[in-house]
Each structure stands twice: as structure tokens, then as C-alpha cells.
Amino acid sequence: MVSIKELSKEEYLLKGHIACAGCGPAISLRLLFKALGNKVILVVPACCSSVIPGPYPFTSFAVPVQNMLFEATGATASGVVAALRQRDIKDVTVVGWAGDGGTFDIGIQALSGAAERETDFIYICYDNEAYGNTGVQRSGATPYGAWTTTTPTGKKERKKDIAFIMAAHRIPYIATACPSYPIDFIEKIRKAKEIKGTKFIHILAPCPTGWRYDTSKTVEMGRLAVRTGVWTLFEIEHGKFKLNPPSSRLIDRAKRKPVKEYLTLQGRFRKLTEVDIEKTQKWVDEDWERYRKLASNQ
């Protein structure tokens, strides 16, 4: 098991980047580089991470980054992997680093294609549950009832279950993570690096700007999402489903905090009624029933 003190002091997301104060995706990026070092090529579509490094001709990324069109992360990563193979470079990991809009909505066809071609790369979706860098618009990842600028009275539909959409592609490794649990996060990325084929990692990256909470609460918000069961830490390795701690200890409903604690701390859920909160709680419990069955079948 990794310990925080063993991690490299080297930074590849340089100081002075222009992410919002308290940015969850920025913590995730730092953790990604702590896990993989600088032997990595990032493919970044339009998303917050194409803004975070700052304006041309400077960048805060100290690793090679290919900025790409919104829909083309999977296709571009396939191209980079093919180029590396042609030049016989074996020690470089290709990482597709896309937001939830670029994964759930716009980039899903290129991602699906790359997974079907069994491209050897890690696709990481950092999910802040809205189109963040254009000013918080609704995406396929926005949860039920959340305010965005395009759903001023709260979204009326549920969030897609992207991890299981990817599981249907029968790829060798799928995991969920959260920067509030850095050891779990880093271990999953390192594990994904060792596996051959397409790997998909889904990260919940809390966003103070879009979720409307105080900037100091980013890590706390991620932790609360896991403890209430809204976000679940699991991995599906070669079809085998496994819950990871601390989610693995939360199968019993009594051990999970009520989702109300998580929802009421965020300004984007301010318009939720008691009925809506009960509905969300019911959906979370249904998801957990599914996870329990999956975990006990293994």
C-alpha cells in the first residue's frame, strides 16, 4: 500500500495555473501525476483542464499534452498509442483526461470506439457534474434536482451510470475514485497502468463554483459523497466487481449517512423539496442493492 509520505515531491502541474480556488479537478490532476510521474502523454478535450494550464504561449502542464476537440479524446488517444507503437516507445502511458461533458455527452462515441478497438490507454473522466468552464451548464452527468444555468429550477432527469456503460464494453478495468481518498485514487491509477487494454476511471471531482459551496469544503464534499453513498468506490477488474473501502463497509444502509446531509450543504440543491430528497435517497438505496448483489455474486 502506498503512503502519502512516499510520494514524489516533484510537481508536474506547475504553480500559477488558473483553476478556481478549491478546484477538485486540480487536486485530481496533481494526484494523477503523483501516481504516474512524467512518463505520460495527456489527451485533453475541451473541458476545465484545457483552461487550467493558462493562455498560449505558456502552460502549467510540465508533461506533453495534446489539446483536442470535444468529441475526439478516444480517437486522438488511439492515434497517440499507434504512433508510440510505431516508434517502439514502451515506457509512456497515454491518458485521456476528459470532463463529464466530454465523456457522458459529446465524447462517448470516440470513447466507445477506442474501447471496442481495445486501445491500450487509460481514460479518466473527472466528473464535476456540469459543463464547468463555460459557466455551469447541464450535462448528462448532472444529478437530479441540481441547479445549473440551463436548469434554473433544477434538473428533472437522472445521471447516466457511465461506469456500467463502459462495463458493457467488456474492457479489462473500470474503477471509480475520488480525490478525497488520495491513496485509493493513486493505487487505482497505478493498477490501471499495469493492465493491457482500455482502462476507464471515473472520478468525482467536487467543484465549488458549480456546486455552490465554500472553497474550503472540496475535500469534505467528496468524503461526504462517499459516506452518504451518493458516490461509490468500486472497481470492475476483468468483469469481477469489487467494492473498495470505505464504500465496502457501507453496504448496510444503517451505516450510510442520509443523503440529505450531502444535498443540503450545496447551493445547487437549494430548491429540492422533501419529496425530491426522498426520491434521491430511494435511488441511492436501489443502486446499493444492485452493488450488494454484484459484490455477493463474486
Partner: protein
Amino acid sequence: MSSSAKTRKEKPITTLSSPTVGVDKTGFWRTFRPEVDGSKCTRCTLCWIYCPDGAITREEDDSPKIDYDYCKGCGICANECPVKAITMVREGE
């Protein structure tokens, strides 16, 4: 490509950007300043791993050092410190 170029005009015409520390002096964004009480700090390094800006560096003995040129004052370090060794102080006080 010259990495010593500091302005747009000095750069050769290319689509590449060069890695630079301090694309923006983000310390100006700050309203509250984190201050570390060295006597309370247990050197757990949690503030270092959770800092979104990489503005906290680990010293030789793992104690945190905050770079105020780039700290945006988000307050995650103060919120996450298990022994409350970091306090947020309003700038100018």
C-alpha cells in the same frame, strides 16, 4: 524552442506552449491567508497532498511551507488539517 522567452513577442511562431511556473500570480486572488503553527503541526503532509495549487511544499522534515505568491486562499488545508495547525487570517491583518 526557447524556454527563456517571457513574452509573446519573443516566442517563435508555433502552436506549442512551453511549461512555465507562474502563468499567473494567483496569490493576488486571495482574501484569507493560511498560516501554519509549527508547534502544533504533526507533519502528516495531508495539506500538501490536498492543495489544488501545489502551493504547499514539503520541507526536508515534511513540515509544510506555503508559497504566498501562488496560494489562492481556498482554505482546504485549514479545513483538512487534523490538528487544526493551520488558521485562515484575513489579508492585511
